[in-house]
């Protein structure tokens, strides 16, 4: 059974993209993410048992999040991409499946302000707790006076 047949059997909508280095990026719906990761992780054949990184991106009209998965059984990598709104961005947390999601999602929340639903401890990780705004957003104001160390 090929990988795409496998996804079709489980009723997951996807569209496939090719990145420049030849890796595969699957765009899936935000609602499917948790279910998709669950079957990818628990399936005996594919068994994507590692979540290696969570990359958030500000695409100006929406946010994109890229999840990098790796299978130590078949030694293959896979990237899942989801889209979320710019107003009130949120997505289901993968913490229940992968412990590594904890810090990676916190970092994504810290720098981009994407809310991960059901995350146990969603707070800033790299920046101080009283930081204002999310720096990797394209509309982030770097000249905000309130961020000056001497005036805090």
């Amino acid at each position: 059974m090929s990988f795409y047949e496998f996804l079709n059997n489980h009723g997951i909508d996807y569209s496939q993209e090719q990145e420049a280095s030849g890796g595969v990026v699957l765009s899936i719906k935000k609602e499917d993410l948790l279910a998709c990761c669950e079957i990818l992780k628990t399936d005996r054949l594919f068994n994507y048992d590692m979540l290696l990184s969570v990359t958030g991106m500000d695409c100006r009209t929406h946010f994109e999040i890229l999840y990098d998965l790796y299978s130590t059984r078949s030694h293959s990598r896979l990237s899942l991409k989801i889209k979320t709104d710019r107003v009130n961005p949120n997505v289901e947390s993968l913490y229940s499946l992968y412990s590594s999601a904890d810090w990676h999602e916190r970092e994504c929340f810290d720098l981009l302000g994407i809310e991960f639903v059901n995350h146990p401890n969603l707070e800033r990780i790299l920046l101080p707790k009283d930081w204002i705004g999310h720096p990797l957003r394209k509309d982030y104001n770097q000249e905000d006076e309130r961020l000056c160390w001497n005036k805090r």
Binding site: E19, S21, D49, S53, L66, S99, H104, R124
Partner: protein, 392 residues
């Protein structure tokens, strides 16, 4: 007797934290009840800096992400931009990258070994390891002009050719070095105090390592055979056949052993690469090239393979069409990933660094819980965390 719980701050300014890491420990006597790692003290906004710089301007900064193994970060960023802009790298440049990366792996492991032993209270191994590391750092200094922040790779190759006699010195080092590793082993491996401090301490099970996304030597010490060089080869790694050492114990001692085995393997790789590098030593290549002078692309002396870059890249004119790439490189600490999204201008839309120490720091509290306070330092040292890489 009433036993009170003690909240103890380890760091941020603590010599054993290898940077600026803060651990907040709940102590019950000598035992750790709970421990929490706080990071972010070295956050420099590497990903934000990429937005305001073009690709060429960003390249020198990436060496600072992991200061002990700067070549790997530069390599992953160069591979990413080369994949995006479709730039071809000549064979000789790939070999030079290969040799410098493997040497960098050794120098990073050596520094780790010295400081790890220092954390455990053994002072003398540091002098031994720094003695060998100094040779490598001198080699890098002669090659790149810098001891730590090399800024040597460029898009499409490397910046300058090897200096005269450089490969001979590397060859001599490679012949000499295995006996030096034996020396370390004599000093450390069977030392009863060292065994007491590391055997069975901080055991990282296979399942937990996978769950937390641990990569590199830490993962291989837990019994998972995953090495990016072998499983998803980049550069010229697919042309080399080499062993990936794997141990099953997953404790601090296994993490120590795996790095010694890796250094031995790297030496073999460097020796093979020196024997096969197109054009050979640069002093001879220069004479041959002058005598030949045919400038045909397939010539073994002045052809494409023996160049260090094929085309100089104009930093302003390097406008990369909208695309994305995700490059994984096996650095000395594990899987180091670089995600670059281009947008048609000469600067990147988004650069994301996936660093191995970030995951290793996350798993640290899991390993320390329930153990002794003295073991925290041993576990922290054995995981080989470099804090600038965690915070970026």
């Amino acid at each position: 007797m009433v036993i009170e719980e003690l909240k103890l701050n380890i760091g941020p300014q603590h010599p054993s934290t290898h940077g600026v890491l803060r651990l907040v420990a709940d102590l019950d006597g000598e035992y750790i009840k709970d421990i929490e790692a706080k990071i972010g003290y070295l956050h420099r906004g590497m990903e934000k800096l990429a937005e305001s710089r073009n690709y060429q301007q960003y390249l020198p900064i990436v060496d600072r992400i992991d200061y002990l193994s700067g070549f790997f970060n530069a390599a992953s960023f160069c591979y990413a931009v080369e994949a995006l802009a479709d730039i071809k790298v000549p064979k000789r440049a790939e070999y030079i990258r290969f040799i410098t990366m493997e040497l960098n792996r050794i120098s990073s492991h050596l520094f780790w070994l010295g400081t790890f032993m220092l954390d455990l209270g053994a002072t003398s191994p540091l002098f031994y390891t720094l003695r060998e590391r100094e040779v490598i750092v001198k080699l890098f200094e002669d090659l790149t002009g810098q001891r730590l922040m090399y800024n040597y790779y460029c898009f499409g190759g490397v910046k300058r050719d090897l200096p005269n006699g450089w490969l001979t010195r590397v060859r001599e080092f490679c012949e000499d070095f295995p006996s030096k590793i034996d020396e370390y082993e004599k000093l450390i491996t069977e030392n009863p105090i060292f065994l007491e401090r590391t055997k069975g301490v901080g055991v990282l099970s296979k399942e937990k390592a996978l769950d937390f996304g641990i990569t590199g030597p830490n993962l291989r010490a837990s019994g998972v055979r995953f090495d990016v060089r072998k499983n998803l080869p980049y550069g010229i790694y697919r042309e080399f056949n080499f062993d990936v050492p794997v141990l099953n114990d997953g404790d601090c001692y296994a993490r120590y052993q795996i790095r010694l085995l890796e250094m031995r393997e790297s030496i073999k790789l460097i020796q093979r690469a020196i024997a096969r590098i197109p054009g050979g030593a640069s002093e001879k290549l220069h004479i041959k090239r002058t005598n030949c002078g045919c400038n045909k692309p397939e010539c073994p002396f002045c052809g494409e393979d023996t160049q260090i870059y094929l085309k100089k890249i104009n930093p302003i004119g390097l406008r990369i069409p909208s695309n994305e790439v995700n490059i994984w490189v096996e650095s000395s600490r594990g899987l180091s990933g670089c995600y670059v999204k281009s947008n048609g201008t000469n600067s990147a839309d988004r650069v994301k660094w996936r660093t191995p120490s970030f995951s290793a720091t996350q798993v640290l509290p899991e390993l320390c819980k329930g153990g002794l306070y003295a073991d925290v330092i041993a576990i922290l040292g054995s995981l080989d965390i470099v804090l600038p890489e965690v915070d970026r």
